[in-house]
């Protein structure tokens, strides 16, 4: 078990995940304006892409990916999260993205398996 947990694979790489999430968001909603009929497809698409990217990394983690897309009308939104887990092995990453007509907040939580 110890041999498996070398520095590379045993912890959560926040920067790498951050970049891959940004790419996923850009590829799904990149240049579009907020659309009520499409938003369902967008959130599902973003979440699915993020998850497949994370799985490709091949690390021993369970993942929780959440995505919130909100239309820009001047309204405020606050988000908080609190986690009860093993801080040495588990980690999370939140990415805020916006364009002219909408906000997008994606959170990834990675929980280590044993």
């Amino acid at each position: 078990m110890e041999e498996f947990h070398n520095g590379n694979e045993g912890s959560f790489n926040q920067e790498e995940v951050d970049n891959s999430i940004k790419e996923c968001i850009e590829s799904v909603v990149g240049g579009d304006d907020y659309s009520q009929s499409l938003v369902n497809k967008w959130t599902a698409g973003i979440v699915e892409r993020c998850l497949t990217q994370l799985v490709k990394q091949g690390k021993p983690y369970k993942y929780i990916v959440t995505c919130a897309v909100m239309q820009k009308t001047g309204a405020g939104l606050h988000t908080a999260n609190s986690c009860y887990w093993d801080t040495t092995m588990d980690g999370s990453c939140t990415v805020r993205w916006e364009n002219r007509t909408m906000y997008c907040v994606v959170s990834v939580f990675a929980v280590a398996i044993a």
């Binding site: 369902n40 369970k62 929780i64 995505c67 001047g74 309204a75 999260n81 609190s82 009860y84």
Partner: protein, 174 residues
């Protein structure tokens, strides 16, 4: 060296479900008995273990197939409802107040779920508070986990000026 390779392949299989983790425990059991037979190799391996124990904690095998006590979704949903209603019922949306309230509610929910004392479950609590301004919003989430053991609970609350959404994800630690 071959044991290391075997352990590594066993650990990769572990990700896909519970069954293979059982297999990896079996392998570990075998290596343990092997260690007890030849004392020389045992000593050298323990040396490596000591260096790595500083980084990772070694756990004894529990031979436990699944959680003894499942995560009580209805009880947690009640907690979420209780907390959101009591903190947000008559309030009006204000920027600084909402910022503090989101964090407070998050911590209160985490403390109450911890009080339920459900062993071997890690929890993630997510709280969103937003202003109602005629805007449209969509939230979705997807999880890669063991569907037989892991679950979530969610509750959303609305009053005339704001909305609040709280979600708790529970992940079983094998």
């Amino acid at each position: 060296m071959s044991d290391v390779a075997k352990d590594k392949s066993q650990k990769r299989e572990k990700r896909t479900g519970k069954v293979s983790s059982e297999g990896s425990h079996g392998v570990k059991g075998n290596t343990r008995t092997k260690d007890s037979i030849s004392t020389v190799s045992c000593l050298t391996e323990l040396g490596h273990h000591d260096e790595n124990i500083r980084m990772t904690v070694t756990m004894e095998n529990t031979y436990q197939m699944g959680p003894h006590k499942r995560f009580p979704v209805p009880a947690v949903t009640d907690i979420l409802k209780d907390v959101l209603v009591s903190y947000l019922q008559e309030e009006k949306y204000e920027v600084e107040w909402s910022q503090k309230m989101t964090k407070t509610i998050c911590e209160v929910i985490r403390a109450r779920v911890k009080d339920l004392m459900i062993p071997r479950y890690k929890t993630v609590v997510l709280v969103h508070i937003g202003q109602l301004n005629g805007q449209s919003m969509q939230m979705s989430s997807r999880c890669l986990w063991d569907a037989s053991n892991d679950t979530f609970a969610s509750y959303s609350f609305k009053n005339s000026s704001l909305f609040g959404v709280a979600t708790v994800y529970a992940v079983y630690y094998e």
